[in-house]
C-alpha cells in the first residue's frame, strides 16, 4: 500500500534522510522509532506529500506521488488522515467546525448527515458534548482527540500519527494509545505512528521500523526489536544516553 524507495532529503547542508527504503502493507500497523531530530516526522510528511524529497520515490497503491503537483496530491490525500504532534486544530473554528471541516469544504453531504457523523466520531474519541468549544478551551489530550476525530471522520484508508503521545501525562498517553488501537480495529485502517515512546510502540505496532543515522537501521516485530541484543537498538529501547551526550 505504501512503498518508500531510496528516499533522500536535506535541509540546506543538513542531511536528514539518506536512502530510506521500506514497505507498509494494507491494514498493517507500523511504528517508526528513532532519536529526536532523526527525521521521523520528516519521513512521515513525505508519505502524504507535505514535503518533497531530493531523491527517491513514495508510492501510494503503486502511484508515485513525488512528481505530483499540489493539486494532484489533493486527490491522493483523500486516502489519508493525519494527526499532528501539536494537533494543529484550526483555532478560529470550534470543535464541530474543525471535525466537520472536510465535509463542509467539499459539500458532499447534507448538513444533518454531517452533524450525525461528527457526533459519531466524537463519541468514538470520547468527546461527546464538546462540539461548541474552541481549541483554546481544551486540554492537550482533548486537542489530540479532536485532531484524531478530524482525521478519521471521512474514513480514510491510512492514518498517520506524528508523535501522538508527546507532551501528555502517562494516563492520557495510555488513553491515546487505546484510542489508536480502537480506531485501527474498528475502521480497519493502515496505521503509521511516529513516536519515541517505547510503551506506545510496543502496544500499537505490529511492526517497528527504527531510523538511525538517517537510514532504516532495523525493522521487525515488537518482540524482535525489544528482544534484540544489538547495542544501538538496546541503547534506544532502554533509553541509555552516551557519555558524550551528557550535558553536565
Amino acid at each position: 500500500m505504501i512503498e518508500v524507495r531510496d528516499l533522500k532529503k536535506s535541509f540546506g547542508s543538513h542531511t536528514v534522510l539518506e536512502g530510506v527504503t521500506f514497505q507498509i502493507k494494507k491494514g498493517e500497523s507500523v511504528v517508526i522509532i528513532g532519536r529526536s531530530g532523526g527525521g521521523k516526522s520528516v519521513l512521515l510528511k513525505h508519505l502524504i506529500g507535505l514535503l518533497k524529497p531530493d531523491q527517491g520515490q513514495v508510492l501510494i497503491e503503486g502511484e508515485n506521488i513525488v512528481p505530483m503537483s499540489e493539486r494532484e496530491l489533493l486527490h491522493v490525500r483523500h486516502k489519508f488522515g493525519m494527526l499532528f504532534q501539536s494537533a494543529a486544530l484550526f483555532d478560529s473554528l470550534n470543535v464541530f467546525e474543525n471535525v466537520s471541516f472536510a465535509f463542509r469544504r467539499d459539500r458532499s453531504l447534507p448538513e444533518g448527515e454531517i452533524e450525525k457523523k461528527v457526533n459519531e466520531v466524537l463519541e468514538l474519541v470520547d468527546l461527546e458534548g464538546t462540539q461548541m468549544k474552541k481549541p483554546s478551551e481544551l486540554s492537550g489530550g482533548m486537542r489530540k482527540r479532536v485532531g484524531l476525530a478530524r482525521a478519521i471522520i471521512y474514513e480514510p484508508e491510512i492514518v498517520l500519527y506524528d508523535e501522538p503521545t508527546t507532551g501528555l501525562d502517562p494516563i492520557v498517553s495510555d488513553s491515546i494509545d487505546k484510542l489508536i488501537i480502537r480506531v485501527r480495529d474498528r475502521l480497519d485502517v493502515t496505521t503509521v505512528v511516529v513516536t519515541h515512546d517505547m510503551r506506545s510502540a510496543q502496544r500499537i505496532g505490529q511492526r517497528i521500523i527504527m531510523l538511525h543515522e538517517r537510514k532504516v537501521y532495523a525493522t521487525g516485530t515488537p518482540a524482535e526489536i525489544f528482544g534484540s541484543t544489538d547495542p544501538i537498538i538496546r541503547q534506544f529501547v532502554d533509553g541509555i544516553s552516551n557519555p558524550k551526550d551528557h550535558l553536565f
Binding site: 496530491l73 489533493l74 488522515g81
Partner: protein, 259 residues
C-alpha cells in the same frame, strides 16, 4: 530549484519568482474554485467594515489639509473658488486610492500576514493540506476577492469624505463662496479622475492581498518569523503601492488622454 548566487539580489529574485507562482496559482484558482460565501463575507466584513474608521479619518483630514494648503496658495492669485476643484481631482486620482491603499496595507496586510504566518508555524496549513484542501483556495482567494471588492468601495468613501471635509474647511473656516466652490469642483472633476482612482484602488487591493498572503504563507519559524513576515508584508505592500502608483498614473493618463 534554487537560484544560484548569493546576497540579497538572489533572495529578492527568488522571492519574486515565488510570489509570481503564488499569483498564478491564485488566479487559476479564482476561476475554478467553489466560492465559500461564508469565508468571503467574513473577509469582506473584516477588510471593509472594520477599516471604516481608519479610512474615514485619513480621507477627512487629508481633504481638510489639502483644502487649507491649496487655499493659502490660490488666495495669493485670487483663485480661492478653485480650491475644491484641486482637492477633488487630487483626492480622486491620487490621494484617495494611495492613502487608502497604504492604510489598508497597514491594517489588513499586517493582519493577513500575521494570521497566515501563525497558521504556518502551528502546522495548521499542513493540516489543511492533509484535509485535501489547497491553502490557496481556502486562504488566499477569499482574501484577494475581498480586497478587490472592498478597497474600491473604501477608496470611493475616502474620496467623498475628503471632498466633503475640504468643502467644510473652505466654506466655514476660510470663508470661500460655497456656490462657486461647488461649481468649479464639478466643472474640473471629470469621470475619468474618479475612474483612475477606482482602477488604481483595484490594483492596490491585489498588491496588498498577494504580498501579505505570500509573506504569511512563507514566514520563518517561531514568533520571530511571524513578526518579521508581518513587518515585511506592510513595508513591501506600501512600497509596491507607491511605486506602482507612479506607473499607473502614467499609463492611465495615457489611456484617459491626460498626457
Amino acid at each position: 530549484m534554487r537560484f544560484q548566487g548569493s546576497g540579497w539580489i538572489a533572495e529578492w529574485v527568488e522571492g519574486l519568482g515565488r510570489l509570481t507562482l503564488l499569483a498564478r496559482e491564485t488566479f487559476m484558482s479564482l476561476f475554478t474554485f467553489k466560492v465559500a460565501w461564508c469565508d468571503l463575507l467574513y473577509q469582506i466584513y473584516f477588510v471593509g467594515v472594520r477599516s471604516q474608521s481608519v479610512v474615514l479619518i485619513t480621507g477627512a483630514f487629508t481633504g481638510m489639509v489639502l483644502g487649507a494648503q491649496t487655499y493659502f496658495q490660490f488666495h495669493k492669485v485670487k483663485m480661492d473658488t478653485a480650491t475644491l476643484a484641486v482637492v477633488s481631482v487630487s483626492m480622486c486620482s491620487e490621494l484617495g486610492p494611495v492613502l487608502t491603499g497604504l492604510m489598508v496595507a497597514g491594517r489588513v496586510g499586517a493582519a493577513f500576514a500575521a494570521e497566515l504566518g501563525t497558521m504556518r508555524v502551528t502546522e495548521q496549513i499542513d493540516a489543511l493540506r492533509t484535509l485535501a484542501t489547497h491553502p490557496v483556495d481556502y486562504l488566499v482567494v477569499p482574501r484577494l476577492v475581498s480586497l478587490y471588492i472592498a478597497l474600491p468601495l473604501l477608496t470611493a468613501e475616502s474620496i467623498a469624505i475628503g471632498i466633503g471635509a475640504g468643502y467644510v474647511v473652505g466654506v466655514f473656516l476660510l470663508g470661500i463662496d460655497p456656490a462657486y466652490l461647488w461649481y468649479y469642483m464639478l466643472k474640473y472633476t471629470g469621470d475619468s479622475d474618479l475612474a483612475i482612482g477606482l482602477i488604481k484602488s483595484f490594483v492596490f487591493g491585489g498588491i496588498v492581498a498577494m504580498i501579505s498572503c505570500y509573506k504569511g504563507l512563507n514566514c520563518g519559524e517561531g514568533a520571530e518569523g511571524v513578526g518579521r513576515a508581518t513587518t515585511e508584508a506592510v513595508v513591501y505592500s506600501s512600497i509596491t503601492v507607491l511605486i506602482t502608483n507612479f506607473f499607473l498614473t502614467l499609463a492611465l493618463g495615457k489611456v484617459f488622454n491626460k498626457l
